[in-house]
Amino acid sequence: MKNKLSILLTAVILLLIYTGVRLMESGGVLLPYHVQILSLCCINVILVVSLNLINGFTGQFSIGHAGFFAIGAYLSAYLTVKLQVPFVPALICGGILAGITGLAVGLPALRLRGDYLAIATLGFGEIIRVIILNTNAVGGARGFSGIPKYTTFGLAYLTAIITVVAIRNFVSSDYGRACLAVREDEIAAASLGVNSTYFKVLAFSLGAFFAGTAGALFSHYLQYMAPTPSQIGFLKSIDILIMLVLGGLGSITGSIVAAVVLTVLPEFLRGFAEYRMVIYPILLIAVMIYRPAGLLAGREFSLDSLLNLFKGARTRVDHS
């Protein structure tokens, strides 16, 4: 009963946020520029939550997430621009190709551990970027321009919700528990019948799939893709990683909060242009000193606990 209530409440709140944005947009309170930033927030939420599945829940330290993002961005743009494919199928194709690449890269790379895996994924991301840089069909070094603006706030918002719900459901299922077991103790997990390679690769390619959809949303949001480190290379990967660590590994709500805050914050800091690159790192360092495990430190913020707080009831939230 309580479960149903909180699902309903979540749905109502999500709908209210959407209509709120829409009303403020038509009322002129939010400028198109603001709505753009909100779309970017949704795209980053998808990136951070999907990276959390790999790094946070499965414990495989990947820093090549931008590679999957790039695959989705470029493939979907190629499909809509060159082949006139409608956007939603193009977005799904972008996700699928990223997922398949995740499978192909994950199978050999996930045999590596810790630092070695991090370096291998970093290398993978750069390889993708160099391939794009040398592919004339997608603009090569000049960049890919003339991409139609198909990404609306509504679509980005919906995709983000689907991603969050899917990953939340995944981690609370037996599949996600197997990933947690691999993260916590691979030997114990194996002795319980968990095929650790299978679940590492599964989490990796599922995360890659969602990163690919985020890429598709991004290229049809910016309408121009440049094969630079900051847009699809290691700097982008590091950006996503910073959001993840700030929100807390293993916390989905933490990832959402961090993605939104770290997307909006630089825009606020635009006014202090010359101090921006000082304030941003100082904030990060402060958070890491006072909350070393991230803002939410592996815990989840939930409506259930909020409801309980209101009722004054201190019962535990059960699992099912």
């Binding site: 037996d174 197997a178 114990a188 319980l192 599964l202 592996g298 535990r316």
Partner: protein, 258 residues
């Protein structure tokens, strides 16, 4: 089928570089028997368990379980065949709750598909409810029903050992391997453990092989003992004959066997 042994170990050898940790060891376990593997520190007992569960490479010999060849199969496949174990240096998922530790171990029996999980289908909900119910039942079996929501790492040592046994039981094993289950327990806990192990064998009708240094527990509990020394199996028999076995007494340096 005839009354063949459930577990057959034939000339098992495990070599680490130049060290023969286990050397040509052969033994067999009958279904629903309760046996002990003993020997001085470093004799190779844990290595035998690791070989049986696929956690270290077997360099010679054969292992078969219910006529299935298990030699050098990966650990997750061996677990699926019905062999579960605990570890000498407890390997619980310390940052997860006791209940989640047990729910993870249901893994091999899970039926629902990935899509059912992603969409939380009715089938998913039904099976998850069953998993939780089963985990609670198994916890009750080891007397830890009230600890379900505690973090596994926060429990006292003796309770962690029981959680690890419960987690292994979630696999519905036919053979349970316990590596020093009484280590770190006080005398009362050890007595309770002895009764628990006996009850598990009788009620669940499983085969149990345990490694233990507490000779009182071993002699009271086990029907059959295998004694290892420097990787060699030096004696096999019932507790009485082992106690009076000259080679065994020598191996323990006339130690605390009586």
């Amino acid at each position: 089928m005839s009354t063949t042994a459930e577990l057959m170990v034939n000339n098992l050898s495990v070599q680490f570089g130049g060290l023969k940790a286990v050397d040509q060891v052969s033994f067999a376990l009958q279904p629903q028997s309760l046996a002990g593997l003993i020997g001085p520190n470093g004799a190779g007992k844990t290595t035998v368990f690791n070989a049986l569960t696929g956690l270290c490479p077997v360099t010679g010999g054969e292992i078969s379980f219910n006529s299935e060849r298990l030699t050098n199969e990966p650990p997750h496949a061996i677990a699926r065949c019905g062999i579960a174990r605990t570890f000498q240096n407890i390997r619980l998922f310390k940052n997860l709750t006791v209940l989640d530790n047990l729910r993870i171990a249901y893994h091999k029996n899970r039926q629902y598909s990935l899509l059912c999980g992603l969409f939380r289908s009715p089938r998913f909900r039904r099976e998850e409810a069953q998993i939780t119910a089963k985990a609670k039942d198994v916890l009750a079996l080891v007397d830890l029903a009230d600890k379900a929501d505690h973090l596994a790492g926060s429990l006292p040592y003796g309770e962690q050992r029981r959680v690890e046994i419960a987690r292994a039981l979630m696999l519905d094993p036919k053979l349970l391997l316990l590596d020093e289950p009484a280590a770190g327990m006080n005398p009362q806990e050890t007595t309770a453990l002895l009764e628990l192990i006996r009850r598990l064998r009788d009620e669940l009708q499983i085969t149990i092989l345990l490694i233990e240094h507490d000779m009182k527990l071993v002699m009271n509990l086990c029907e059959k003992l295998f004694v290892l020394d420097y990787g060699h199996l030096i004696a096999t028999g019932d507790p009485k004959s082992i106690q009076s076995n000259r080679r065994v007494v020598e191996a323990y340096l006339g130690g605390n066997l009586a």
